[in-house]
Symmetry: none
Subunit: 128 residues, 4 copies
DNA sequence: GTGGTCTAGACCACC
DNA sequence: GTGGTCTAGACCACA
């Protein structure tokens, strides 16, 4: 995971978001043990305290479970994971629709635009 | 227009993009006179030369026409504007789909997610 | 006639050339009276002495005849005019062929290029 | 290459033209590395930024490729080079025909004049 | 060292 | 006043 932070939001929240993305996508699979705080902090290039705070937030949200000496594990709670995916998906969709409307595209036209794009780009993920 | 620049791309290109968004959305209506280079530069907080470069690029793309002493005007070429909107729309859709797929959403599921979101936000999405 | 002088050659020679062009093309028709030295100098934006020198050169070449009080007249000597046209034409052709060869076009290919151009541009003089 | 600029056109465009001539004639062979921006600017006696602008234009036209730290290279795209030669050749022919017509030579007579000149200069025209 | 970008400040033609 | 061009000098990423 490439960590790049902007200064519009606290870094720890940006980390929370990034880890949530990892969990939602399955990059951090349910039941899996997360790397140690130190390692995660090192990888992200932030202070371990900042990473600690992010992980505490994730735990508060029920997405990871700290097990005293063994480390932190991604939750296996399917409902929680589903809800997470729903929330993040909704956020992405919301931002998307906002941008499209800013461009002058009416709500009704958005789904068609999406379907057309998928039809013409099926198979090739064109990262830009 | 709120100008905020990140350092992942040249400022002049970010300006090009921002102005294109303004033109595509109609914030800068076809045939309208744009503010002068100096004014735009002042507003964006960049050097007039940088703004000049961005505007030259827009002119090269056929989106604005410079008229010697009278200023620059947004093109009235409907085809060019339509193509612009198509390109920008496609870029937004592409980024959206990429994010959704990164989240683990399969392509086939994306349109449904969009439609559902629009259905549940149809009231607030169109605050006009 | 638009007078623009470069500094690679004496101005009076550039004037000679310009007037020769006028005579060769018929802009100054055979037998016609030329404007006065003063007027020509004024029009060209040069010192009357400079214009005088240019006209003297033209007279030396037999292209104009000074008639004491009546002014200067373009020669009616058809042979001289023909020779003039030939010389100027040759100079233009020579410069043209030099440029084409500098571009890497072989001598044998030049006439074809000319004919093709004329064929595709018959009628429309495209000044550039 | 001898750089001499007139003030009828922006210097950077004159440079573009000069470099195009070099590329079209093969003086800058396909695939060859061009001198650095700084060196070219020094040679031409212009500001590096002006030379940069000219080179950027050449790149936009697909005639040179910039390779980050290695320098700029003349394109090897034969089609692009052929088109370039065609364009430049056409421009020269057009100017030539314009001058001839200004001299009073009719279009039909131009090819003959060219062929005659070449015939009489076939020895010295190809001094290689 | 290379290309690329940005700023600052100047001058010009046009009307 | 407008757009357009040019210079000077600086900084950056890349390798």
């Amino acid at each position: 995971m490439a960590w790049e932070f902007h200064d519009n939001a606290p870094i720890y929240l940006q980390i929370v978001n990034g880890l949530q993305r990892g969990i939602a996508s399955g990059a951090y699979a349910p039941g899996t043990r997360l790397p140690s705080v130190r390692d995660l902090a090192l990888e992200a290039g932030v202070n371990p305290n900042t990473m600690q705070r992010a992980l505490a937030e994730l735990e508060r949200r029920g997405l990871v479970n700290a097990q005293r000496t063994a480390g932190r594990f991604v939750t296996e709670d399917a409902a929680a994971l589903a809800e997470l995916r729903k929330e993040m998906s909704d956020a992405i969709v919301a931002e998307f629709c906002r941008k499209m409307q800013e461009l002058g595209v009416r709500s009704e036209e958005i789904p068609a635009a999406v379907q057309e794009w998928i039809a013409t780009h099926s198979g090739s993920a064109n990262p830009m």
